[in-house]
Amino acid sequence: MNKIILFCFFMIATFNQIQAQKILPQISLKNMNGKLIDISKIETNNVTVFNFWATWCVPCIKELEEINEIYSEWKDETNVKIIAVSVDDARTVSRVKAMVNGKEWPYEILFDTNQELKRALNVTTIPYLIIVKNNKIVYTHSGYTYGSEIELYEKIKQFSN
């Protein structure tokens, strides 16, 4: 027992010496065209929002629907880009393309079928979003209720300057 506590403190001391930058990990996910996209190489000079969702997550769908109504305004004002990362696994992944097109969503979609990116970014529950600017993660948020998109846009504007 004491050994474990000692080990934990040793790890903390070691981690102290390592500058851990909160940057995007070098993980490649497929897009809707089957092409592998390296997350760390995505251009983020403009504010980029990674939104984790799934076809079975009702609040996630509500969020992406609400943003869809005002996305073009957001893009005009801030050049923001929203990348919707689906964490649907083999059970529900076949529904992703059908749902995205059926609902006419304009977002870039990435498939995180074995939840590799979700784990690397410490996403615990969905919906979950991270805001990235110049390759650094500047803001994270968990959950969605109607009106959360207003606060999201305030953050997007804040980081756009």
């Binding site: 909160k22 059908a98 784990r119 615990t124 109607y146």
Partner: protein, 545 residues
Amino acid sequence: MKKKLFFIFVLIAIQFNAQNNWVSGNFISNSQYYLDDNKTGDFGENDRFRSNNYLKLDANLNRFSLEIQVESYAPQSLLNFSSNFDKEIGFATYYANYKSDKLDATIGYFYEQFGNGLVLRSYEDKQLGVNNALRGSKLVYTPVNYVQITGLYGKHRVGFNVSDGDILGFDTEFNLTDALKVEKSYVNLGFSIVSRSQEIENSEKGFQKNTIAYSGRINYSKNNFYSSVEYVLKEKDAIVEFGFVNTQKLAKGNAFLLNTGYSKKGFSIDVTFRRLENMSFYSDRNVEGNLDNEQLVNYLPSLTKQHYYSLANIYIYQTQSRLTFTPFKKAGEIGSQIDVFYNVKKGTFLGGKYGTQLALNYATWYGLDAEFDTENRTFNAGFTNFGVKYFTEFNIEVLKKWSKKWYSNFTFINLYYNKKYIEETSGKVDATIAITEVTYKFTPKKSVRMEVQHLWTDDDKKDWVAGTLEMNFSSKVSLFAADLYNYGNELKKIHYYNFGGSFTKNSTRVSLSYGRQRGGLLCVGGICRIVPESTGFGLSINTSF
């Protein structure tokens, strides 16, 4: 002592949160305090307070990264989690990784999926208590951007130990259209080999300790049309019945998966067809069919719609992939699922001011029509023969935004559930479910959600009614009250009530609830855990840093 450890965990998490450029990670805690219930009975186990806690820490330095996950089950894990989660605190998983543009090397515990998961998938789902990470090493080599080669070796995680069996895997993917610089269409080829090796004591002479599964897949898409297919062959392996590994009686397995669809803005149709024959595949043959979903090599989810509403989660289909002769003759399953999405445009009669969205789903699953020779433990199944009907479900969902303040969702489900074959008891269920959900926004950031559900059936536990009221005061605070009432059940006419609230700030969420939980299946991604009937308080903490 246990409380001290819990406190230390929280301190570590807070410290890292405050000085947030050292390491990153997350902390998840799910606790329950079980109470006696005058309607459903006393809590008969020891330890009324149970808790599952997970602390993950990551450190990155240039191309190297380290990760460690500490888990604590204090004083015991939550009810019905595997008895292998038996340490009050221990190192659960850890790894060291090196990544460059072409090479990705990991030593320690890792996760991976080949193709659709029919031959290999190792992943984690904390809610279900599933973690079949492999401990060993994995190498992914990407010489050019259209070729990827993966090699891995490991033993499955089992609680705080590892499996008796070894897994060796190889996978390659080749993006043909990228290689030939073809732009307008997409063709991707994949091939995998997975071998499980395990010595069996006193096995029959000539018994192979290795079982190898081969898989080939093709994915194609052009314009609005797409199609993909995967075929798996599993070598003959011992038939396992009631924990006994019969090395004298062997059986082969195979799987066929076809997914195809047409998708354009405003309209999509997706069709999946799958046939499984003796495809259960475990690291340790002795634990075949275990209820804790441990040591699974592959992933065979049930291909039905995953529902959000409580009454739609009572009769859930579970994949029938195992070969059994008693008490029922089963060799696998065959069936299909169809999804249609349609967006009724704004301004049309049915669309209204904001449009209307329709989603239809139809799923149907049958056993394999096979000739079973119980005495000799053999079977013969035709490829397209449909046997006993296991499950059928038709559902339609209509989503509508009426104004800036009003939203509604109406769902109708009609299902057939073969309780006899799926649960291995007796009976069947024909049920119809109707659900109406309405959300009203008082102000742009304050809303209330109301849900009314009803289930009609003459079978099993008869009719149910359910309702939920959820008040979202802001993006940070939310309160809810829900009830499921089995009023049609003459033997057990009780309410399964639940009250609670949650507080969310940035990436931290804390929720507290009190209620009586219906016993049944909790399913995430088609893998289910049996959740016992229980009453009590629940506390859940999720934070990332």
